[in-house]
């Protein structure tokens, strides 16, 4: 038991893994209990940190502004949505000229489409324009964290989120190892 105030860690996952994660859960019945997205490699994410290339922005709101941004990493595309309750993030999406490297800290969100598919997106707490160095650092770091999760997943013993991932998903973690390898190889080009 800890009495120190805790802030949720921002997990690192490539877009291919993040978008595969459709299952969310809470760990208590309290009203404001944090919601976690279950990553297929066996980790719970209440917050993520993403760096990639912002390729498109679009205001898809009806009455008020609601901005959608597409952020691309070597494995796929993250979707971020920011509206009136994320004014700082929305104003970055409004003002930026894509393409640009951006860093996003935010909360994972899921919603079910009419045809029953679960879409995963990021609701940003902060978006900033960064440079290519930051993107490279993020790719290396994200590959490292992903591999750590895969190793812990395969160890199995006592890894409750790995157990949960096995129950909830039918997704071989090998896919994410390959994605990490491809992302790292991509840096050499």
């Amino acid at each position: 038991m800890s009495t120190a105030p805790t802030r949720e860690v921002a997990r690192r996952a490539f877009a291919s893994e993040f978008n595969d994660a459709g299952y969310t859960f809470t760990e208590s019945d309290e009203e404001r209990a944090p919601v976690y997205l279950l990553l297929p490699t066996g980790a719970h994410a209440n917050r993520v940190f993403v760096v990639g290339t912002l390729t498109e922005t679009e205001d898809i709101g009806d009455e008020s502004e609601y901005w959608r941004g597409r952020i691309v990493d070597p494995t796929g595309t993250f979707f971020v949505y920011a509206g009136q309750y994320q004014p700082d993030a929305a104003s970055v999406l409004r003002d930026v000229e894509p393409p640009a490297y951006v860093a996003v800290t935010g909360k994972p969100r899921t919603y079910e489409t009419d045809d029953g598919e679960i879409n995963v997106s990021v609701r940003p707490e902060a978006i900033t324009i960064v440079d290519e160095d930051v993107r490279r650092q993020w790719i290396v770091e994200t590959a490292e964290r992903t591999l750590e999760r895969i190793e812990a997943f395969e160890d199995g013993a006592g890894n409750e989120y790995a157990t949960m991932a096995r129950e909830q998903y039918d997704l071989p973690v090998e896919n994410y190892r390959r994605a990490a390898v491809a992302a790292l190889e991509d840096l050499d080009e």
């Binding site: 800890s2 120190a4 802030r7 921002a10 997990r11």
Partner: protein
């Protein structure tokens, strides 16, 4: 259970001068209590110690040094029973009724969090005072160590002692993922020895005062495993952001708003990676040295690993 053997050895050492006993006998008592009667180890230890105290005609206070006397820096394993001599550096508000006191202990080698259980019935520890604490248990949470004071703990107030508390110098690296409120261009109370940050021109101690401008950032460094709260003072804030105090004042003057400074700082620093070195104070790391680990990151080794698992 290897664990019981360790406890038995500790207890044996405490009494080996006074009583003619052997470790197996002590371990036997532990086994009876823990394995047959499902008594928690802490409670069993208390009971075993009491038994031998009685047999030897000793008071609990006569017991000394059954455990290893350790320095805070050397605590790197959980569930160890140790003795400590330390000063109460800081007391925090307990967040649970099960906790009587929670705060920070310090010795020459560093600081560590402590929790005193309400059930322990121990005397109240005062801030700034030095104590010898016998029989505390170490604990670990997310890589950070703490000590727990329980019913078997002995507390001796060393009234004439003082300790120069050392810094736990730590180095952290990760992305700056948040800059919290109370950052940027702030005003501090100008009264002697009061450096409180003003809220709407008011000091919580001295009321309305003519504040003095200062720069600071309360940030969060996150490496995807752990989060660390970091405080940048004026100098390190200037280094980090490239915005100096005079410039910050001009910006705020032009905008008729101080919050523009923090906004500008966020735009320049959030989402970047930093390596920070400095002492730990409670939950904060004070950023004495700040570097941006840039340039080509070496990923060859990682790639080899990624291909092999």
């Amino acid at each position: 259970m290897a664990d019981l053997r360790q406890h038995a050895e500790d207890v044996y050492e405490q009494f080996s001068d006074e009583l003619d006993i052997d470790v197996d006998e002590v371990e036997g008592r532990f086994e009876t209590l823990v394995e047959e009667y499902s008594v928690p180890v802490e409670e069993a230890r208390r009971s075993v110690v009491n038994h031998y105290l009685e047999e030897a005609g000793m008071a609990r206070d006569d017991l000394r040094g059954g455990n290893e006397e350790v320095t805070i820096e050397t605590i790197d394993e959980s569930e160890q029973w140790v003795d400590l001599t330390a000063k109460v550096v800081d007391l925090w508000e307990p967040r649970s009724d099960a906790v009587a006191q929670v705060g920070l202990l310090g010795d020459e080698t560093g600081t560590i969090k402590f929790t005193k259980w309400a059930k322990s019935d121990l005397a109240t520890l005062d801030e700034g005072e030095v104590y010898h604490l016998g029989n505390v248990v170490t604990d670990e949470y997310q890589g950070r160590y703490s000590v727990k004071l329980n019913r078997t703990t002995t507390v001796e107030h060393l009234e004439d002692d003082d300790i120069e508390v050392g810094d736990n110098e730590s180095e952290i690296e990760g992305a700056l993922v948040d800059i919290q409120s109370g950052s940027g261009l702030i005003k501090r109370c100008p009264m002697d020895d009061c450096t409180r940050v003003l809220q709407n021109g008011r000091c919580s101690e001295h009321g309305e005062v003519e504040g003095e401008f200062d720069l600071r950032i309360k940030g969060v460094i996150d490496d995807g495993r752990d989060v660390h709260e970091v405080i940048f003072d004026q100098e390190s804030t200037e280094n980090l952001t490239g915005i100096e105090l005079e410039e910050a004042k001009d910006m705020a003057m032009d905008a008729l708003d101080t919050s523009i400074v923090a906004d500008e700082m966020r735009a320049k620093t959030l989402g970047r990676y930093y390596r920070i070195r400095g002492p730990t104070m409670g939950r904060y790391v004070l950023a004495n040295e700040v570097e941006q680990p840039s340039g080509p990151t070496d990923h060859e080794e990682l790639l080899i690993k990624a291909r092999s698992i």
